[in-house]
Symmetry: C2
Subunit: 239 residues, 2 copies
Amino acid sequence: MASVAAKIPELEPDHPCFSCAVRELAVCGVLESAALRAFKATGPTVHYEPGDTVVFEADNAANVYSLTSGLLRLSKLLPDGRRQIAGFLFPGDFLGITMEEEHAFTAEAVAPSTLCKFPRVRFDEYVAAHPQLERRLYAVAAHELAAARQQLVLLGRKTATERVASFLLMLSGRCSAGLGTTEVDLPMSRIDMADYLGLRIETVSREISGLKAARVIQLTGRQSFRIVDRARLDQLAEG
Amino acid sequence: MASVAAKIPELEPDHPCFSCAVRELAVCGVLESAALRAFKATGPTVHYEPGDTVVFEADNAANVYSLTSGLLRLSKLLPDGRRQIAGFLFPGDFLGITMEEEHAFTAEAVAPSTLCKFPRVRFDEYVAAHPQLERRLYAVAAHELAAARQQLVLLGRKTATERVASFLLMLSGRCSAGLGTTEVDLPMSRIDMADYLGLRIETVSREISGLKAARVIQLTGRQSFRIVDRARLDQLAEG
DNA sequence: CGACGGATTGAAGCACCTCAACGGGAGTGG
DNA sequence: CCACTCCCGTTGAGGTGCTTCAATCCGTCG
């Protein structure tokens, strides 16, 4: 998302968004102080625990959200229970890119998550009144589209090993715990990984074990890992 | 795309876009006569034959396009030759949704195709100057994103039968030859179908044969078919 | 008519799935 | 503090859906 970041106006210490860690990533980042203050005033800050549903597919799309902390998954269920996760939302990501009346996917919290919630009607007014916000929203949509299409390649043509390797690399770009360390956070369950990669949980587990045995990665707890051989992982991800 | 159509201004008979069959679908549809005339003047009309490359992945994204007739495929090649088609572009569709410097996918003509070509720089100027165009572009991006995510579900979780059934239904919505007839055009090769559905050509062929044998569809030539049992096809597509 | 490319059909293989058992850390209660 | 349980993850063995390899068909074009 860094590629769509713009320059960020300074905020006074009493501003409601002053301590927002992701303002420079989020769509709100393009608004100057007064506009942002009014914008933020249109909706509350909400919190969800793991497993909580933020929006349900087929729900009326009455609100849009900006994720400030935590992790969400976007998923769809087939009638017989098969599930596909279309993507994960990280802090700074926007939830609600649609021109339809209803959401197409369910959004659920994977980790404890905090979001800024905006009524869609007010949000649309703001977008219409602030061209730079509209532009930013388009940039975000274009970025998400590119990511979704990249995922199409993974699901349509990559092997299990390639999928898992690609996923771990993606995480290393998004979840590098502390800068300077090579340790990467693995914030979702194996089930979520499997449903994102179009695999079964056992296959994901086997592939991770395989990468570990090949000394490409190293598990540092069940929720984190370290990339030992980055070049090899890149190579495995590409096919 | 009908869902993102807006009201269309009338054009005088000598307007360069007067006879454009897809103006009401395309992004240009929101521009009024004079603006559209000036907009169209920024770039030529170009034509491609089947197999021709319109843009190559990693090419500098110097131009954007609006497809007025024909059919394009958006694809990506893995190093070893595996190919995934991320989507097809039908008349009225827009090519060039990106904020990056380079295209992420190759666009090639599947059928003889005509496009309006616009230099990106001039196009961006127009977008900045015409808020309704920007809005429309966002709507198009949101629509494409929803379609791509729907395709993720297909590739990640659907069986071969479900994939082919879903595809035929999609085509019946896009390529119904003449209104009133139930005949549907099948404008791409089996290879393209396979690379779009994440299957091999033999599997696609087998599935089509199966649907034919089950009297769900009926082949009316190698490039067209008819849906015999729509309810059954819907059911097969859903799983 | 003969050759070519796309499509179909058949037979065998394999990557991933299914089913099943086991392991280990976290939380609970005695 | 330890025993118990639960849940998630791991590992193993066997099955299957799609792929791979190969042969044939068929419409098109020289």
